[in-house]
């Protein structure tokens, strides 16, 4: 019986900025329909990893495969087409502050040039509803929204193009615990409704357990543990245990600059 092709597979991905090696041979497999949570400390390379997959940073070496196709060797147009199937929720929302909320949500639809503005507007209202916001919010500017509402709008924008893969960069950062739980719930609902594959990076353990089916930990540019998200708090790996329980003492030593 042949093994199913994973939705996303990273093999030996390396990236260095000058002398500083940020990704040191990342290997990660995310099966289709799975929610993978990548945890790791600040500066461990989580965001760089996402940016490599999104094409915002070119890795120095390795393979990044979506549905078995290596993005790095595809012709430019095919690569752009493959990446158009990825939705992204940025850490700070990254809403376009020059556009009203509904245009932010419908941006991806309007960018295709195939959806009229009136239709895009009504579809934006539907997506806003899916993340628990009234259609009237669409007329506001992003600056008029609270942090939690901005995250919801950013989530609506990420799902509007019905992506195959959804990336979440620190989805609960800057939110109170209740709003964090609300956003996590919305993420889980949206991923299930779309049938997408999700990859979230976070260092919020409560969020990681709520979102993830699978989890991996990145440390010094390498994946040091990979397993079910339910085992995060009791993984048996001393580094993971130190991180998930927030212990000062342990094998992970914080690098302090003096």
């Amino acid at each position: 019986m042949s093994e199913a092709v994973p939705k996303l597979r990273l093999t030996g991905v390396r990236k260095a900025f000058g002398d500083k090696v940020v990704l040191d041979g990342i290997d990660l497999v995310v099966p289709a329909g799975t929610s993978m949570v990548v945890i790791g400390g600040s500066g461990s390379g989580k965001s760089v990893l996402l940016k490599c997959v999104l094409g915002l940073i070119e890795p120095d070496a390795g393979r990044i495969e979506i549905d078995g196709q290596d993005l790095l060797t595809l012709p430019r147009e095919d690569r752009a087409r493959a990446r158009a199937r990825i939705g992204m929720l940025f850490q700070n929302g990254a809403l376009f502050d020059s556009l009203p909320v509904w245009e932010n949500v419908a941006f991806g639809l309007l960018a295709t040039g195939r959806v009229p503005r009136s239709e895009a507007r009504s579809r934006a209202a539907e997506y806003l509803e899916q993340v628990g916001l009234a259609a009237s919010v669409g007329e506001l500017s992003p600056a008029e929204l609270s942090g939690g509402m901005q995250k919801r709008v950013a989530l609506a924008r990420a799902i509007a193009a019905r992506p195959d893969i959804l990336f979440f960069d620190e989805p609960t950062t800057g939110l109170d615990p209740i709003m964090g739980a609300v956003i996590d719930g919305l993420i889980v609902d949206c991923v299930k409704r779309l049938g997408s594959t999700a990859v979230a990076i976070t260092h919020d353990m409560a969020s990681a357990r709520r979102i993830g089916d699978q989890a991996a930990m990145i440390h010094r540019g390498r994946i040091i543990w990979n397993g079910p998200a339910g085992q995060l708090m009791d993984s048996g790996n001393p580094m993971v245990d130190q991180f998930t329980h927030g212990r000062r003492e342990g094998p992970i030593q914080m690098e302090l600059r003096r």
Binding site: K51, L54, G55, L56, A80, R83, A84, I86, G87, M88, F90, Q91, N92, A94, L95, F96, D97, S98, F107, G108, A111, T112, G113, R157, A161
Partner: protein, 261 residues
Amino acid sequence: MATLLDAVAATGRAVIHACRETGKVAIFAASGISHIFRPPFYGRLFLSALLEIGFFSLPVVALTAIFTGMVLALQSYTGFSRFSAEGAVANVVVLSVTRELGPVLAGLMVAGRVGAAMAAEIGTMRVTDQIDALSTLSTNPMKYLVAPRLLAGTIALPLLVVVADILGVLGGYLISTVKLGFNSANYLTRTMNFVETMDVASGLAKAAVFGFLIALMGCYQGYNSKGGAQGVGAATTSAVVAASILILAFDYVLTEMFFAR
């Protein structure tokens, strides 16, 4: 000896940095220009940039032009009266305004107003991940942010300079007729007879180049800003300084091209 070598090394580093930066700006400009001619086209963004650069810069350019024309008439009258050549005031005003002062002063004012705003807006988009977000939404940031502004800058500044030319000459005319006692009809006749199509056309061509340079530096500095609020502030300053210097440098180059025999 060590001090001398350090100085040479520092100079070498500065030259290499300048060459590298020039290359980056040239590649950025080439990419921006290529996106102006390749679909998709963002007409709404172009019109919005045209309005911002052209229409909203009108007051500042108009005031600069009219006062410059007035000062020019006064100064040239004072200077020329020393050798009884007051009659040349009209010629000097129209020639200076259309060939040089109109495009250069309008360019410098727009660089301060629009170049800074462009760098700040795009720089803020960069440091808040909005430019990365554009890429993830199948939108090329060069096409969406840079190309419309480059085109709008290139078109808006010549239109502003037409206004600046008219108001600059009007300023000189007002001072000459109201304060210095020139005959109104004579002043206008001398102006019309003396000015040539090439004088105005060269000024407008300069303006198009200056408009492009202002938009280019605003976009380039903003696009490459980093490091939060401080980085955006630095990008804004760099955009205005670089655009101003380039305007003056290209003014010389273009004058040499148009008028050197």
